[in-house]
Amino acid sequence: MTAVSFETAVSAGLAREAQVRHRRYIKQAVWGAIAIAVLWYAAHQIKFSPYAVAAGVPFMWDFLTRLFPPDLSYMSVLGSATIETIQIAIWGTLLAIILSIPFSLLGARNTTPHIIVFHATRVFLNALRAINELVFALIFVSAVGLGPFAGVLAIALHATGMLAKFVAEEIESVDKGQIEAQLSTGASRMQVILFGVIPQVIPSFVGYSIYRLDVSIRSATVLGLVGAGGLGFSLIQTMKLFKYHQTATCILVIFLLVLVSDWICGKLRRKVI
């Protein structure tokens, strides 16, 4: 290449770089403007108002002073509700773990028997994920009656949706070499799943199940609001009876429970992963 044509190539490259950069600036400006417009409109719609927060401060203060001091003697009464909350979470999560095994296999592209089954499973799992535990609890309270069992079913369904989708995605990302090796021995599809897929997804499955237990304990603390057992029931009852010092105790116990659960589940998870 001659010196002259080399120079032309370099300046052409520089000109192109500037052009690409300017295009990027324009694109960023347009997207920025769109984002601001969307946020502005949303703020307007939801009546976003710092003034309302300021105006509400006295009322919040009033509520807080009425909560204070928590009635610590009420803690002994909350013992059984706390245990019930944990029991709801454990049974709900356990059912979810069992249910998510078939659903994750049906909902993963590489293990599903048919693509239609795959799509149907994913739609079903997304429905379970979309419906909040409280909404499920409302349905089950009317189906199986007030009490903790409605809570167990609510947790089980929502957690199945979350867990099975997560595991299905793990199944889709297994190492293909290990699978191909099993196929090449003449193993059946089911044998490949048993000896090739499952060993690969076990650690993340166990890890996520423990995380789900932690989340379920948090959810179980509010299920009582709709009559599905646990601490939430005490919370709403004491509020309805204007026993705010006891309400404060409920909040305190929930906080402690969530703290302990997070600590234990975190420890367990680090152990398996």
Partner: protein, 264 residues
């Protein structure tokens, strides 16, 4: 010199007019014809992209060929997907990346070589008959890995993993072993050890071994018969002595004019 004599003349594999194209545009195999005898240790030599892996995968039907036939012990195995599991069981496979299930023990990995002999329902309980366990431990002993049977596969070195992978292939009690670049991820000393095991398998058990390699050096050292591949075609078939520089040049550097002529 070590080869058993009578078996030596029986044809194990016969490939006729095998072609494979991916998506109708990439021609990985452009008409392969070859015969492989029982107990033969055959090296398929060629540069990356020559179609070596595709050829081996067609042989045990992991890849469906576009055209052509494969006969195994005079039985045609192409075209019919019904006895797929039985065909694959007869072909042990060894991979470049070993492909052991990392979280399972060495012994369980070897036992997976027995899966095709057992029903899916029995496997559901991760439990194997005593006979399978005996076979698996024997196969491990053959590659001197029986002392690590209960270790997790991912705790082994690369060479050890490849030996376990050979044991897994042997546990299938196959008639053919297909080794796809089995030593490409190993250092020279370990690579020679693994190739020695593969050659022993051919000589002592009468198993036909087809081994893909891209290194001329190893090929010269180990191969009894060499098939040279380039751009989806066999361009050489002979012994190590016949593998002259000229031939190597033909395998690795093909005339670009010739190539464009082919594409038409």
């Amino acid at each position: 010199m070590l080869m058993p004599n009578a078996q030596n003349t029986t044809t194990m594999l016969s490939v006729r007019g095998l072609t494979k194209s991916y998506g109708g545009t990439i021609h990985a195999l452009r008409g392969i014809d070859m015969e492989v005898k029982k107990g033969e240790f055959l090296v398929i030599l060629g540069p990356s992209g020559a179609g070596k892996s595709t050829l081996l995968r067609c042989l045990n039907r992991l890849v469906e060929p576009t055209e052509g036939q494969i006969f195994h012990n005079d039985v045609q195995i192409t075209g019919n997907r019904r006895n797929l599991r039985a065909v694959r069981r007869d072909f042990g496979m060894v991979f470049q990346q070993f492909n052991l299930v990392r979280r399972l023990s060495v012994l369980t990995n070897v036992l997976t070589g027995r899966l095709a002999y057992r029903s899916s329902w029995r496997s559901l309980f991760y439990n194997f008959p005593q006979e399978d366990k005996r076979i698996a431990i024997e196969c491990l002993a053959r590659v001197n890995m029986d002392h690590k049977a209960f270790q997790r596969a991912d705790t082994l070195s690369g060479g050890e993993q490849q030996r376990v992978a050979i044991a897994r292939a042997l546990a299938q009690q196959p008639t053919v072993i297909l080794a796809d670049e089995p030593v490409a991820s190993l250092d020279p000393k370990i690579a020679r050890q693994v190739l020695t095991y593969l050659r022993e398998v051919a000589h002592e058990l009468g198993i036909t071994v087809l081994c893909n390699l891209h290194q001329v050096e190893y090929t010269r050292e180990y191969a009894e018969r060499i098939v040279g591949m380039s751009k989806g075609r066999i361009v050489f078939d002979g012994t190590g002595a016949e593998l002259t520089d000229d031939v190597i040049h033909r395998i690795y550097y093909r005339d670009p004019d010739e190539e464009t002529a082919e594409e038409k």
